[in-house]
């Protein structure tokens, strides 16, 4: 069996005495698109924050490509090849769109903390940033300050920054939240494009997006994963129906 790209082993997170994540076990296979769904307050965003190093786990283990990354700071996890986006847009609002992407590129191309070379002469960084801009359809907004972009454009930029460093494992936290139907369709096409050949873990509320995009789905309820399987298996799973999906799955299957 191929080694899992991402592996969560009996992961726990408590805030004070309140358990939020209660023994999550999950294996994300290399190259798959894996969605995490669940009702509000199930702990989906907390799970992402644990994996990406934003919060420390209370107990348990997180493995990236078989290596333990539990307790590492976010920047080290990012350098090891895991990158994430945020549910609330998290960009550099005063910088241009191009510079936002370039910030995401610099470390991965080895520029580190250099203060002895001009960033403008870092051709490979500029070229990669421009390539990403084309992928996310923001090439025409290249020199616009990111803070004045429309909401959907900022969400695309958020994804652009996330993939800019070329991470092999990508976590997207509700990438289509707050988007109109046509914007969502564009976003799904974009996600499909940029996650080609990579491992994707996505939290999403929009069931049509989830069933459209995911190879496998995990259902998180009250901090525990109650089921993992293909979209068909999840749709057919009685426990999932009972616990959460109900009408949402019906809707998606009729859509």
């Amino acid at each position: 069996m191929a080694e899992a790209a991402l592996q969560l082993i009996d992961l726990h997170k408590r805030f004070g005495a309140t358990p939020i994540i209660r023994g999550v076990k999950l294996e994300v296979t290399r190259g798959e698109r894996h969605a995490v769904i669940g009702p509000n307050g199930a702990g989906k965003s907390t799970l992402f924050n644990l994996i990406s190093g934003r919060f420390p786990a209370s107990s348990g283990q997180i493995k990236l490509n078989g290596e333990d990354i539990t307790g590492l700071p976010p920047y080290v996890i990012n350098r090891r090849g895991l990158s994430r986006s945020f549910q609330v847009t998290n960009i550099f609002p005063r910088m241009s769109v191009f510079e936002n992407i370039r910030c995401g590129v610099l470390w991965s191309l080895g520029y580190r903390y250099s203060f002895w070379q001009r960033v403008a002469s870092a051709r490979d960084a500029s070229e990669r940033a421009d390539l990403i801009l084309q992928q996310i359809n923001l090439a025409s907004r290249r020199d616009t300050p990111a803070g004045v972009l429309s909401y959907a454009e900022q969400r695309a930029l958020e994804i652009g920054i996330t993939i800019a460093g070329g991470a092999e494992v990508i976590l997207l936290d509700e990438p289509t939240a707050g988007m109109s139907r046509s914007e969502t369709e564009h976003a799904v096409a974009l996600i499909r494009r940029v996650s080609e050949g990579k491992t994707l873990l996505i939290v999403e509320h929009d069931m049509s997006v989830v069933f459209n995009l995911a190879d496998r789905i995990s259902v998180l309820v009250y901090g525990e994963i109650i089921a993992t399987g293909t979209p068909e298996a999840i749709r057919a799973n009685a426990e999932v129906q009972k616990a959460y999906l109900g009408s949402a799955a019906e809707e998606a299957s009729h859509a």
Partner: protein
């Protein structure tokens, strides 16, 4: 507007023109302002510019508010003074022009030590730690008399070093050119740093530290590195100051210069690279010339700071640069009538306020000089009811007029801006 860039994205040719022009101006200035007093003032401006720009690497570029930046400036100064004395006593073959490097390395060394502690935190915690370190070093400067020279400070002489090309740097004009050269060098270096990967990531850490962590950068390391670089340039400024004054005292590492560099930088404008240069030039000029005219000069500086914080948060540099699009779009003259109109109430308020401050200062502090006043070319008696009535009328009428006219000024500005953009678009 991103922090590190000059407006209008200058091309390589424009860059050379800019730096070449700067060098020519620095070279020609002493021919225009040749008096001893102006040479001294321009020398002070030279190292004030370096000091303020080094401070803005922290505040404007990286969003780090330091209350103790004079530590690196002052220690750079002390180290340079001691080094000058060693070199002078031993007749070591070290020429004066390289001595600011001693200050820079001292600033760098102490920035590495103190920065390792203080840059572990950002925001308010960093500001508090910088305040604590500032107080710590200021206290040490009074205790460690051997190094800091107690109340008398450390005297030195810049003329006892190895002479190069027959220059001994005794005359102020030679010292001015040495400071000007270092100033140009440091300004160029600090500008270049804003355009490196570290410089860009400083801005990223300032704007969104969390996101910076998730693109692979340790915000703590970014803060630490820029703190060290900033300490180096502050130390160079301190070294030049020590060479200029030929004496350094414990006040150089204290809270006063730490506060003054914050004022200079902020009044000039933290969001633009040239802001601190404007602030350093202006505040040095005010500090020197105002103190000749009035004992209340610090009050004026403080009021100016408050006004800038409240009404021009982008600083004077921001006020100037917001007219650049108008200049480019050739619509600058459209704002002239409104500005001329508003000049009257501004002059009334300024005149009234100055008269109020000076009269009050005379009555409360300097009564021994008598009550006969001479302010802004007008002679009056400090206790005369008429004078006080005029002051009140000037202030009240000025404020009233300003309130009525200010909407017109901003309307005129926005019209001109729209027209400039339209002209650019067509």
């Amino acid at each position: 507007m991103t922090g590190g860039a000059l407006p209008g994205a200058p091309t390589a040719r424009a860059h050379w023109l800019l730096w070449g022009g700067g060098a020519v101006i620095l070279a020609v200035l002493p021919l225009v302002f040749s008096s001893g007093a102006s040479l001294t003032m321009m020398s002070l401006m030279g190292f004030a510019i370096i000091f303020a720009l080094s401070y803005n690497m922290l505040l404007g570029q990286t969003g780090m508010l330091s209350f103790g930046h004079a530590v690196y400036y002052g220690l750079g100064g002390f180290m340079t003074a001691h080094a000058l004395n060693v070199v002078g006593a031993g007749r070591l073959p070290v020429p004066l022009p390289v001595m600011p490097l001693v200050g820079g390395l001292a600033g760098l060394t102490f920035a590495v030590i103190f920065g390792w502690v203080s840059t572990k935190r950002a925001g308010t915690a960093f500001a508090m730690i910088s305040l604590g370190i500032g107080e710590l070093v200021a206290a040490c400067s009074l205790i460690l008399r051997g190094f800091f020279g107690g109340e008398g400070g450390i005297s030195t002489s810049r003329t006892k070093t190895l002479a190069v090309f027959g220059l001994n740097f005794g005359p102020q004009i030679q010292m001015y050119y040495l400071i000007a050269a270092w100033c140009l060098l440091c300004v160029g270096a600090m500008y270049a740093i804003t355009r490196t990967p570290l410089g860009r990531m400083c801005n990223a850490v300032r704007d969104n530290p969390e996101r910076a962590e998730f693109v692979g950068y340790s915000t703590q390391m970014v803060r630490f590195l820029v703190f060290c670089l900033s300490g180096f340039f502050a130390g160079v400024a301190g070294g030049l100051a020590a060479m200029h004054y030929e004496i350094v005292t414990s006040s150089m590492v204290g809270a006063a210069p730490s506060g003054f560099v914050l004022l200079m930088t902020y009044i000039g404008g933290v969001a633009f690279f040239i802001g601190p240069i404007i602030g350093a030039v202006l505040m040095t000029a005010l500090q020197i010339s105002l103190s000749d005219y009035t004992g209340a000069w610090q009050l004026y500086v403080g009021v100016m700071f408050v006004l800038v914080v409240m009404y021009a948060p982008w600083g004077l540099g921001g006020l100037i640069l917001m007219h650049q699009p108008l200049l480019a779009g050739r619509t600058l003259r459209r704002v002239a009538p409104a500005y001329a109109l508003v000049a009257l109430p501004v002059a009334m308020i300024a005149g009234g306020a100055i008269a109020l401050v000076e009269t009050a200062h005379r009555l409360l502090v300097n009564l021994t000089e008598g009550t006969a006043m001479h302010v802004l070319g007008v002679s009056f008696d400090a206790k005369s009811p008429l004078a006080w009535a005029v002051i009140v009328v000037l202030l009240v009428a000025g404020v009233w007029l300003l309130q009525r006219m200010s909407p017109r000024v901003s309307a005129a500005y926005h019209d001109a801006l729209q027209a400039a953009r339209a002209a650019k678009g067509s």
